[in-house]
Amino acid sequence: MSAPIIWIGIPFLISIIVWFFRKNRPLIIYLISGFCFLLAVTALIVKFGEVFSLGPLTLEINTTFTVFGRSFILQDSERFIVALLYFSAGIWFSAARISGSNEFFLPHGLAVISFLIAALTVQPFLYAALFVEIAVLLSIPMLIKSGEEITDGVLRFLVFQTLAVPFILLAGWAFEQAPFSANSQLQFFQASIFLGLGFAFWLSIFPFHAWVPMVAEEGQPYVFAFLISMISTSILVLSMDFFNSYSWLRNEPVLLQSIQIIGTIMVVFGGVFAAFQKRLSRLIGYAYIYEIGFSLISIGITTEIGWETLIYSFIPRIFSLMVLSLSVAVLNNNFKTDQLDEIRGLFYKSPFISIATILAWFTIAGLPLLGSFPIKMTILSEISSTSILYTIWIMIGLVGSLFMGGRLLSVLFVSSQKTDVDSQLKIQETTAQAVFLSIESIILIVLGLFPSIFISIMVDVLNAYTNLY
């Protein structure tokens, strides 16, 4: 048995089977969540490519699966990324029912993850573009609310993600040709432009970010956060593959500086625009823009610390977006609104939603004692040693996001009517909502208090990218 069959082939087959039973949601939720947790735990404990014993049996999980002359290689160091994707998907799927997601979320979501992992493992890796596009196509039905019209944001999501495919394929071709070209420097430069455009469309990098807040607002926030978390994590790992394979990318100062500039613009844009939002669902979009900005800055640093912060940022980002989107989804389901003006004093009616929202937002913002603080602090200290200008701009973005945190505190915890009766706690969340929001909030707190837990898990991922630094 090979690792790609277990972590790509079997999940895809299961997603096809459960698609036919998608109306039976409780059963499907238990089945798929449990299956995802099983895959995650197995990926964590079983070493790929090594013989291990299971009772009287001796087993070996091969790293390679070859089909039509192309290989899917799941290396041992990549199993932590696989485990992260399946573990977070397991939690995401288990809360599917309270989030109000549609019937396609679970089967399509599982298929999306298997295609994204296929994109990470396929060799030559330019084929990854094709797998990511199939994942995007599968994700469209998940994003549309049952019985509601197709929104512009969803169409833009489809368009922008599809536009990335040609650029990535052309970049792969151009990078292969460049060493043999008479003017290889020019060819490398052209290849990097193709690559930059491809990644810009995929990660919705400025100025191709317009659809992000639109989908967050119009679609299903919970499903949207799942998609952007899974896709962005896979794409960022894929970008490491490109940097690892082509030394030209790592050594071109103009390119690296451009990445840092764009990253800084996204941090400022995400932070400042978040500060003035009136709807919580749009915040998810701006949180994503803000986070991708930090990831780009990490890539632009290109030192060992830069790549480490990129890898370490995956876990707090995924979990903070998960908690924020779940609280917005539950809020929408319970009160049919996510307008900040209409949820004043929410804490006294829905304390679990309020606390989860605050925790998630401050984790994204990078508040001390929360998950992403060590990462953002490291990025800031690294960038401050090279450019004070970037540091100032990033600080502006940080202040914007913290300002939004302050607004959230004032909106959620201060009742509009200052009477004793209104200030008494009357919990309106269901038990299931309270349990899921509590568990996810606890995960965020643990990530913040004990960051070494996730750092120690992710540290081995970089072993697969020996050329990066």
Binding site: R70, L155, V159, T162, P166
Partner: protein, 196 residues
């Protein structure tokens, strides 16, 4: 490679078909224009690929058209809702011509970047440009999907000349069909919305 005058025939066909697709309000004519586009794509790809492999593009494109056509039901879906007024058509026609002219003028520059014979560079470029124009001018799911298919078919012409991998061709066909199926799904939702 010496350019033959006959090589420009698919370029002319692709320009007419993509203009027709841009201007047509009737979905039947749009699907016919899409089919013509794929004939031109097949014709262009035929100069570098064997007939069997090039035919994949044609068959996939026609299947995509059939899937989209089959998903439009009833009289409500007969017309694509952009205002069929003279000014709108004239605006689209001029924009379409400008795209063709622009591609024709910049093709020698693109030739430095991609080693593709000039007629096919223009043919693929027209499809890419018209596809982007189509996507940029509308919010209608059917038109967006037609634009995406046009854009991708232009890229497929380019990619056929630089990469002859059967697997990539297969995957691109899956993506073409996937986009058409997604378009059909979106149209189905839209039709439900209209009927309710």
């Amino acid at each position: 490679m010496r350019t033959n005058i006959i090589d420009f025939a698919p370029v002319i066909l692709v320009s007419i078909a993509s203009l027709l697709l841009l201007l047509q309000a009737n979905w039947r004519w749009s699907i016919i224009a899409l089919s013509l586009q794929y004939i031109a794509v097949f014709w262009m790809v035929l100069s570098v690929w064997p007939v069997g492999l090039a035919a994949v593009k044609l068959v996939t494109g026609w299947m995509a058209g059939a899937v989209l056509g089959a998903s439009i039901t009833g009289e409500e879906g007969l017309r694509i809702s952009f205002k069929e007024i003279f000014q709108e058509l004239r605006f689209r026609f001029v924009l379409g011509l400008l795209i063709i002219l622009f591609v024709f003028l910049i093709s020698p520059r693109i030739n430095n970047l991609l080693p593709i014979p000039n007629p096919f560079l223009i043919g693929g470029g027209v499809l890419i440009g018209m596809g982007l124009l189509q996507i940029g001018l509308t919010k209608e799911p059917l038109r967006v999907v037609l634009g995406l298919l046009t854009f991708l078919s232009g890229f497929e012409v380019y990619y056929a000349f630089i990469e002859r991998s059967v697997m990539v061709a297969g995957f691109l066909s899956i993506i073409t069909l996937g986009i058409a199926l997604m378009g059909a799904y979106l149209l189905n939702l839209q039709n439900k919305g209209i009927s309710e």
